[in-house]
């Protein structure tokens, strides 16, 4: 549905556009390039979270192994653009290929779990995520494909024509380091993923997903092909996971199975739940907050302890996870529907509360 935008919305749109364009300069100037790097990762996680949101938020299929698709995208890029096999295909081949591969794996996962839901689905997808990781870890013998736990090194950076995003580029007398260049690339792709997700949500397909989530039997009685619509959700979610994976590979220059642990899957799910499942703005907020917050804690906890107590009482790394865990628990108790829930979700939680109150 195309609605006319009023001038206030256009103003807001332009302002946020400018803000996003100058963001790396502000962050880099104030906090240094390592923080621009964290912002880059935040964008990758936004893409991942939006992908998972299609599966979990829109279609209501709990997936605990989503990181597998990130891994598939990352390894596709790494294997086809590194000295490991001596293949150096350009990114505009390897990233789409990685995305398609991930989508294929999405269907591969989706097919056997068509009849499962809830807890059972979660367990199977969790296993699937681990299988992919363990494969990556062990496919170095008898034929060395993934180089096992050592991972793949010296992965090609993204090259656009003569420009190499892996080394600084001089533009109008300004030297832009790689973290800035990747920021803009990630930003463009994130915007594309956001538009895709939002258009899907407000379409015939998006409605079918909501119908599926609310009542599968009624959805099938409306003529929705349950198998196809579920597989479509898995494939499209995996697709954006695969894109993010390829970008991660190019950005990092190194991949190993360690990056694709169960904790990562859980983290992405936490971003969705914390942000507001099903609502795109909420999911973006969740991804940004959960990427940035632990880093802020890391920078703050150590010095704070030194200042107040004169010595390091708790290891900052442990304290960080502890505080983070407490924050999540409090959040779920106080605001279980997430920071920015969709209207529908909010209503669901309200109804559930009222029903519980009536019973109790």
């Amino acid at each position: 549905m195309s609605k006319a935008f009023d001038s206030k919305q256009i103003g807001l749109f332009i302002a946020s556009g400018i803000a996003l364009c100058v963001l790396p300069f502000v962050v880099g100037g104030a906090l240094g390039n390592s923080w621009v790097r964290i912002v880059d990762f935040a964008l990758l996680y936004v893409m991942l979270a939006l992908g998972l949101n299609i599966v979990v938020g829109f279609a209501g299929l709990l997936d605990l192994g989503f990181i597998a698709f990130y891994a598939v995208g990352a390894y596709t890029y790494a294997l086809l653009g590194s000295p490991h096999f001596g293949i150096h295909w350009p990114f505009y081949v390897t990233i789409p290929l990685g995305a398609l591969f991930a989508a294929f794996f999405g269907i591969l996962l989706g097919t056997p779990v068509l009849r499962l839901k809830g807890d059972y689905l979660a367990i199977v997808t969790l296993g699937f995520g681990e299988i992919i990781r363990i494969f990556m870890n062990n496919l170095n013998a008898p034929v060395n494909i993934t180089n096992g736990p050592q991972g793949i090194n010296l992965i090609d950076p993204i090259r656009v024509g003569a420009a190499d995003l892996g080394s600084p580029i001089n533009l109008f007398g300004l030297s832009l380091p790689p973290v800035y260049l990747y920021y803009y690339l990630f930003l463009v792709l994130t915007v594309i993923v956001v538009i895709m997700a939002s258009r899907l949500q407000h379409s015939r397909i998006g409605r079918a997903w909501v119908a599926l989530r609310e009542d599968q039997i009624a959805a099938s009685a409306m003529g929705i092909n349950i198998r196809n619509i579920k597989l479509l959700a898995f494939a499209l979610g995996a697709l954006s996971g695969g894109v993010a994976g390829g970008l991660f590979s190019a950005f990092q220059g190194f991949v190993s199975p360690e990056s694709f642990s169960l904790l990562e899957s859980i983290m992405i799910l936490a971003m969705i739940v914390l942000g507001g499942m099903g609502n795109i703005a909420g999911v973006i907020l969740g991804a940004v907050v959960l990427t940035i917050a632990p880093e802020i804690l890391r920078d703050v906890i150590g010095p704070l302890q030194m200042k107040t107590m004169g010595r390091m009482l708790i290891d900052p790394e442990n304290a960080r996870m502890l505080l983070f865990g407490i924050a999540m628990v409090v959040m779920m108790l106080v605001r279980p529907e997430g920071m920015l829930p969709s209207k529908r979700r909010k209503a669901e939680f309200k109804d559930a509360k009222e029903a519980a109150a009536q019973k109790g």
Partner: protein
């Protein structure tokens, strides 16, 4: 001779040791209101679920408007032109009334994921047509004023109507209603009766399950009676009412 729309023969359905339907056969003609009655547990809803693809029958044959629907998936059945409502209303509770009906248009529209993402002209026009049709149907069943209300918040009578509108959105040739008058007060029942007559007059064949035998007698062109998973009578209401086996099934052997 009326034209046959739906024909089943020798349908059997077992759940473990329970023989829920045994050798059930019936024919529904185009344009009629066909009633299915029977005591509790007679197999009415089971038969209904078989006719709409939710249950897979073990044996038998099932043809509808030239399609062979034996053991067909629900979405195939809907596509062929059978739409249904549920005894214990199954709306998409958190969607608005309008959105519920829009979901009903799913099978009669085409836009895929690519169309949704590109939002090309055809997709936009289709979306517009879906919305327009959904409004039209809400008006048809008389609940357009609550179009933006969430289905959960609608009154019971409105929910029933919304379910009918949603089923009609699939452009059925046969509309199958599972106890639509259950839990309704006499006024609501009367209004529902009018709605069903209106739908039948517009050319849609109606299949009706109902407990309320009186309602059925006044409304249906033909009636079939199920008892213990078997069809014990079929015919015009007058005949069925006088059939001793029907009286026995409903009132017990002593009254026969």
């Amino acid at each position: 001779m009326a034209e046959v729309l739906l024909k089943i023969e020798g349908i059997n359905k077992r759940f473990g040791g329970l023989h829920a339907l045994s050798d059930v056969g019936l024919t529904i003609n185009k344009g009629e209101i066909y009633g299915l009655i029977g005591p509790n547990g007679a197999g009415k809803t089971t038969l209904f679920n078989v006719l709409t693809g939710l249950y897979v029958p073990d044996e038998g044959s099932f043809t509808f408007d030239g399609h062979n629907l034996f053991q067909a998936k629900p979405h195939v059945v809907v596509n062929a032109g059978i739409a249904r409502t549920f005894q214990n209303i199954r709306l998409f509770a958190e969607m608005t009334a309008l959105e519920n009906v829009m979901v009903g248009r799913h099978i009669r529209s085409k836009a895929g994921a690519l169309g949704a993402v590109l939002r090309d002209r055809r997709t936009r026009e289709e979306e517009k047509a879906i919305t327009a049709k959904a409004w039209e149907l809400l008006e048809y069943v008389g609940i357009a004023d609550v179009a933006d209300e969430r289905a959960r918040n609608l009154s019971y009578g409105h929910q029933r109507r919304l379910e009918i509108a949603r089923a009609l959105a699939t452009e059925p040739k046969l509309l199958a209603l599972d106890e639509p008058a259950a839990g309704m007060n006499p006024r609501e029942t009367e209004e529902l009766k009018e709605l069903m007559s209106k739908i039948a007059k517009s050319g849609t064949t109606v299949l009706l399950i109902e407990h309320d035998v009186k309602l059925m007698m006044g409304l249906c062109d033909r009636i079939a009676v199920l008892d213990y998973g078997k069809k014990i009578a079929e015919g015009i209401p007058e005949e069925v009412r006088k059939n001793p086996r029907v009286i026995e099934a409903y009132l017990g052997a002593a009254h026969a």
